[in-house]
């Protein structure tokens, strides 16, 4: 069972993680991967210049491990990769990568969906964006709360 849960404080290239992850799970039926990137957003909305993601060490990584435990309990998985950036990022940079390997596609896709919904609005991260030189804290969207509620 391949399990790779990490916080990264610098730029990463998802392909360099996903290739070895897939190789590490021989006999899998399918791998589902989601990669989130820092959005630019339209200039008329005051385009995003930078994004800062703060975490709290004693809670954030243990929380991601608990989330991984729940994913392994809930879905029939062979492997799970969950990598999240922290610190300062620029638009276009990858911020999160979740990859799940399973014998059947339903488990792989649903596990990625489940982990992403929880990382997005139930993990210990605080996010702020810089627009037109000003920092703004970001709140989860209503959609994020609705997405999360699907699993309860």
């Amino acid at each position: 069972m391949m399990r790779d849960i990490r916080l990264l404080d610098r730029m990463f290239i998802p392909g360099t993680l996903i290739g070895p992850f897939t190789q590490a799970n021989p006999g899998l039926g399918g791998v589902c991967t989601f990669v989130g990137e820092v959005r630019f957003d339209a200039a008329e909305q005051g385009g995003v210049e930078a994004l800062e993601l703060t975490h709290y060490e004693p809670l954030t990584l243990p929380g991601m491990h608990e989330l991984a435990d729940r994913a392994f309990e809930r879905f029939d998985l062979m492997g799970l990769l969950m990598v999240h950036r922290v610190g300062m990022m620029r638009p276009g940079e990858p911020i999160v990568c979740v990859s799940a390997a399973a014998l059947h596609r339903r488990d792989a896709i649903d596990a990625v969906d489940f982990c992403m919904d929880h990382l997005k609005s139930a993990a210990w991260f605080w996010k702020r964006e810089k627009r037109a030189g000003e920092w703004h804290w970001i709140e989860p969207r209503q959609q994020d709360h609705e997405d999360l509620a699907r699993w309860q």
Partner: protein, 79 residues
Amino acid sequence: MITVVFLGKLADLAGAPTLRLSAPLDWAGLKAALPEALGEAVDDPRNRVAVNGALLADKAALQAGAGDEIALLPPVSGG
């Protein structure tokens, strides 16, 4: 001494990411030691409190001694 860590918006309100306060501290003592606006903000039920990485079910039950780290955690906003 006790270290108080402010996350997210609370760090903006505090003007710094951390603060050092004298031990021991209970919830009333902590609020009294913070600037008024911050003391009111941490009372907001959406803001959680952890001691040494363990979340408190009831903030009012806070008891921190020398060397402890109190974290004041506003609602999260993820990736």
